[in-house]
Symmetry: C2
Subunit: 348 residues, 2 copies
């Protein structure tokens, strides 16, 4: 066995509040020569790319350090005693951010994996972090299973973080597959232009130009007299603006609340809600995460989404950082608004 | 045609705030001799009983007076040129509180009706205001279609206004049809005793002994380490206590918010909600009203419920007031906690 080295993105300093930065992380190198697929079920995964996602922020507030960061990766199986994952399989998974790692039956049972072999190549493996990964499954499950647009009704969808990976795909699916009118909220002119010109949204709102939920609601009303669906990525004033413009039978799918992730004290104001408004209108607010869609436990995410992707009905902007050493920089960029689309760190 | 007189419960004075009372209403008598089923589709309905319900309160705040009150009634068809409703049919409907009235096609299209002929007699027609009326349909739809208890899992249900018509039926159905553990909240010892001893609830909480949502949550925790479902009839601290004890995959069905109905200024504090709590837990909050279940547009309310009623799995306490003149007194009793169960005003 040739000598080889693994590298791991390691949190070395807790981040109770504020922006994550390079000083909180170290890339730890270790000899990986002794990693061998020895027992039945074992496999060695060489990670091709790693994701950087906002939800990781809250985990950095507490716990022991140093510890390895974990998240979504796409990797190639380079050794295998696992019949489900032969050599050269391409695997999406939630795993430690370690460049070469051994997985056994126990690890594979505990983590979420999805088999990308039929859908991507080594060259476009980052699709497995985007359209065919967590953001894709989030957009897919949230829109189709939670919000359930009615194709026949030309419903109106509002989505926050609309230039982000999830938001932009929600808008594209709603528009191109479900015949919706789509309003997106994002910050700054670059992004508002992107979502209308590139992603085909009908309307864009620059949330940085408003400061209250009432103002944001007024902006929504300029686009449409109400919304049928809101895909919630941020919380805060967006939620209240959406509730106040929600039509009868309106639905809100909650899959993110980024406005709270950087909150050190846990004292960021909660949303208020007038539940009496929801009664005669049959309105619904529902939380969800991508897991059942990504794992295939519910619906047919990989098949449907790769088809729509081929038909150019949905795509995902990607923003690449090369080298595992760049992961902390990539992660920080999520919170400064520096990135557009899915942040992928490529290792190969 | 024999001479006859109709009587109508009439709101003569708006009730912007506080308790409704006799001074706000008049019973207006009119000659009804000229009411004849003359055209195709016409029918004359003789009202047997009228309901008094909390939701009527908010309508009394504004609008023109004098005007007739409207709500749920059960009546007998005494003349008919309508093939769907032959003479002697027993009809449940939302109509003006008028003892004898003519209905034509237009009225019948606009209002909700349900055909009780196969399920009740003139003697037990008040069932059509309870188990087989709005409260029954509310309990049925909210529990079965919105909350969706899983029979196999022995789930825990919490319900507020548990001694009321809707709440007590929700608890009985959950317990006797869906194998749930049931916790009810109501005010005072008479009611807490009633729900456990008569309706078979597992636990009762006297909400009058607590003053904050945290205290109420602690009481819930004494009964169970968490709840899977909450049937919301009241709003306020109950909603927040339920959210804070809601388990993963927990659901809240919102069909009432009585804590806001007597609010003159519309300034009663809204609920707060931490929507980020709902994401990883797949929690859901959904509003609904009984209409689609009562009308038969969704599911099989009359058939299912009358069967469960015959099997003694669900019943509804009734509280009778005799004579249309008693309607204002019956209505007031809803807001003073004087009544137990469904308030029915009998006319015959």
């Amino acid at each position: 066995m040739a000598s080889r080295t693994s590298k791991t993105v390691t949190l070395t300093k807790l981040i109770p509040s504020g922006l994550p930065s390079k000083e909180h992380f170290t890339i730890v190198e270790e000899d990986a020569s002794n990693l061998v697929a020895s027992d039945d079920g074992d496999l060695i995964l060489q990670v091709i790319c790693m994701s950087a996602d906002p939800y990781l922020r809250s985990g950095c507030k507490t716990g022991e350090v140093p510890r390895p960061m974990s998240g979504f990766v796409v990797g190639k199986v380079i050794e295998s005693k696992n019949c489900a994952w032969p050599v050269d399989s391409l695997m999406g998974a939630a795993l430690p951010f370690t460049s070469i790692q051994k997985l056994n039956d126990i690890v594979l049972k505990k983590t979420i994996t999805w088999n990308l072999t039929d859908y991507v190549t080594e060259e476009n493996a980052t699709l497995g972090l985007g359209v065919l990964g967590m953001p894709g499954a989030t957009a897919y499950g949230g829109l189709i299973d939670v919000l359930r647009p009615d194709k026949k009704k030309n419903e109106t969808l509002f989505v926050s973080s609309a230039a982000g990976a999830v938001g932009s795909m929600v808008g594209q699916l709603a528009k191109n597959v479900f015949n919706c009118t789509v309003i997106g909220s994002c910050g700054g002119e670059t992004k508002t232009t992107l979502i209308t010109e590139k992603f085909g949204f009908d309307h864009s709102i620059d949330y940085k130009t408003v400061s209250t939920s009432a103002d944001l609601a007024a902006k929504i009303k300029e686009c449409s007299d109400g919304i049928d669906m809101y895909f919630e990525n941020v919380g805060g004033m967006h939620f209240e603006a959406a509730m106040s413009t929600l039509r009868p039978h309106g639905r809100i799918a909650v899959c993110g609340c980024i406005s709270r992730y950087n909150d050190a004290s846990g004292t960021a104001p909660l949303n208020t809600i007038d539940i009496s408004q929801m009664i005669y209108t049959f309105q619904r607010v529902e939380g969800f995460v991508c897991m059942p869609y990504l794992s295939g436990a519910k619906m047919n995410f990989l098949k449907d989404m790769s088809e729509w992707h081929k038909e150019m009905k949905v795509g995902c902007e990607q923003c690449f950082y090369d080298g595992i050493e760049e992961w902390p920089t990539a992660f920080q960029a999520l919170f400064t608004g520096a990135n557009v689309g899915k942040v992928c760190v490529r290792l190969l």
